[in-house]
């Protein structure tokens, strides 16, 4: 049969976000494939150089749409490293609550998103409705459902609103009570299992070759390689949680790990709410009004564990009011670009969307 070129995306129901996978198929076996990124390119790294330290907080969350908080956190950590800022204790715990809520939200979304390549839309309906509740909680805490602009260098922008603990607890209880339901609906469902078992496996040696991090790596190498454990930031060293791992990384294992992380995140949030001290939530970067804040010279790299892996900000300051250079290491860069090029050939056409979904390829952070 003749080789044929197909586009998966940018306008495709199975594609997450505005990116395109170019696939050459023979029958339905992929012969050659590429990701065509850049459709969400906005020139962030240039934009950040052109905004002051404080203005950047309105730019940062927009790097990755679904999980803005890891961006904010990595940016804030980088600035704090440069300016040698001591973040107030309470701010650390609030940050962890926000980060874990964001992790819940994106795992739910990805789990729901599994509905489109597998054809089980019920999952999507459940997951998005629960995610909507998280977004409303975010709105109460941060002032916006999606672009929170809440974690800022020096702490968080505002203290938690009164009574939010109740909202969070009731949501967590509700989610926990329906956790088994979620599993039954999705990965315990024999139909889904038949679809995702042994689909697009990822051997450990390929992981190192590609540089994949996050769940994709942990489910392959069977080791708790999670930045929250390996180099704890915020106060992750003071909470107890497990890092779900698996010995064999197929689509099933990755989705399974995601779901297990949901349980861990629920636990972390509960511990944070219990352990959180009272106190200030923010310190300014330096004296003076915000537009005249300056940060000492230096080169730093700060990274956090996002739902898709290591999310890092490389930052250079020349001592001025703007960052001199900000580089963003998108967590899904390896699996999105090199993974699709090297690893999709040989699999079936209909598995391409599953790869994009289970590896969490997020185009805005690749394009920036």
């Amino acid at each position: 049969m003749k080789e044929m070129k197909l586009f998966l995306g940018p306008q495709h129901p199975g594609m997450h976000g505005n990116a395109s996978v170019h696939i050459y198929v023979d029958g339905d076996i992929i012969k050659k494939s590429f990701l065509l990124p850049g459709m969400l390119h906005r020139g962030f790294e240039k934009g950040m150089e052109r905004h002051s330290w404080v203005n950047n907080i309105s730019l940062i969350p927009r790097v990755c749409v679904v999980e803005p908080d890891t961006n904010e956190m990595a940016f804030a950590m980088a600035v704090e490293m440069l300016a040698k800022l001591e973040v107030p204790e309470r701010a650390h715990w609030i940050r962890m609550i926000i980060l874990e809520l964001a992790r819940l939200s994106i795992h739910l979304m990805a789990y729901g998103g599994l509905g489109s390549p597998t054809g089980l839309y019920t999952m999507m309906y459940h997951a998005h409705t629960d995610r909507n509740t998280i977004l409303n909680i975010f709105e109460k805490i941060t002032g916006h459902r999606v672009y929170h602009q809440y974690i800022v260098p020096g702490g968080v922008r505002k203290d938690l609103p009164v009574g939010i603990e109740k909202d969070i607890h009731s949501f967590l209880d509700d989610l926990e009570s329906r956790y088994e339901e979620y599993r039954d609906l999705g990965i315990n469902n024999p139909t889904i299992q038949a679809r995702i078992n042994d689909t697009i496996p990822l051997p450990a040696e390929v992981v190192w070759e590609l540089g994949v991090t996050g769940i994709g790596m942990r489910s392959a190498v069977n080791k708790p390689y999670d930045l929250r454990k390996v180099k704890p930031y915020a106060r992750y060293d003071q909470v107890e949680f497990d890092v779900p791992v698996a010995p064999y990384s197929d689509a099933y294992a990755r989705v399974d790990c995601k779901l297990q992380e949901v349980v861990q995140s629920i636990g972390i949030i509960r511990q944070c709410l219990a352990k959180m001290p009272e106190g200030d939530v923010r310190v300014p970067i330096s004296r003076g009004q915000a537009m005249r804040w300056t940060v000492p010279k230096g080169h730093v790299y700060a990274c956090v564990e996002s739902s898709r892996g290591e999310f890092g900000y490389f930052m250079v300051s020349d001592g001025g009011t703007n960052p001199y250079r900000v580089g963003v290491r998108g967590a899904s860069y390896p699996q999105g670009l090199l993974g699709i090029e090297k690893y999709l050939p040989g699999t079936r056409l209909d598995d391409a969307a599953l790869w994009v979904d289970t590896m969490g390829v997020c185009s805005p952070e690749i394009d920036r």
């Binding site: 940018p10 306008q11 129901p13 065509l36 459709m39 749409v65 977004l135």
Partner: protein, 189 residues
């Protein structure tokens, strides 16, 4: 005595009547194209799923441009997307409508000084309704859709006609920004 005087309708009047009837059905079953051009698309899943359930308005996602009535431009458009969006828009069957989401489609939003993002969407393709917000909350999105229906009812959503009438103008703007509208995918491989 009843006078049954039959006055034949002119062709224009007949067309108009048919359009009105067509508009009634169209506006009550607006099918949107599932194309997430930018970040505001993240508020669409709640609108599509059970929380806001836009199927109550007769709206639903469609996989291909030829089936869809509404193109949602969800936020900023990089040049690379604009090329593909113009393709998509031109593939859609008429009448077709565009909803512009968020600040970026109106005047560039936060990316107004970016080298890769256009500022005013309605210079390149005609937009019928703009929804304010960055990003607009789901409620704002839903209200935007009803605004569009209202406009269709009042025969004000004529962007697609304008695209015919002033195609030269649109094309000139497209060329000014893009150089060439054609997509060359082979560049990248």
């Amino acid at each position: 005595m009843l006078s049954t005087k039959f006055s034949p309708m002119s062709k224009e009047e007949v067309d108009r009547k048919w359009w009105e009837i067509g508009d009634f059905f169209r506006r009550n079953s607006l099918w949107m194209l599932m194309y997430c051009t930018g970040c505001c698309a993240i508020e669409l899943p709640p609108a599509m799923t059970s929380a806001y359930d836009m199927e109550r308005l007769g709206m639903g996602p469609m996989a291909t441009p030829r089936q869809a009535d509404v193109l949602l431009v969800t936020g900023y458009l990089s040049l690379k997307t604009l090329r593909r969006l113009i393709y998509t828009y031109e593939q859609m069957s008429e009448p077709k409508y565009i909803v512009g989401f968020g600040s970026c489609t109106i005047n560039g939003g936060i990316y107004h000084d970016s080298h890769a993002v256009i500022n005013q969407l309605n210079k390149y393709i005609p937009v019928d309704v703009f929804v304010a917000g960055c990003m607009p909350n789901t409620e704002a999105v839903m209200n935007g859709f009803v605004d569009l229906m209202d406009l269709i009812k009042n025969k004000k959503a004529n962007g697609w006609k304008d695209y015919h009438e002033r195609y030269e103008w649109y094309l000139a703007n497209q060329k000014a920004a893009l150089g060439e509208v054609r997509v060359h995918d082979e560049f990248h491989e």
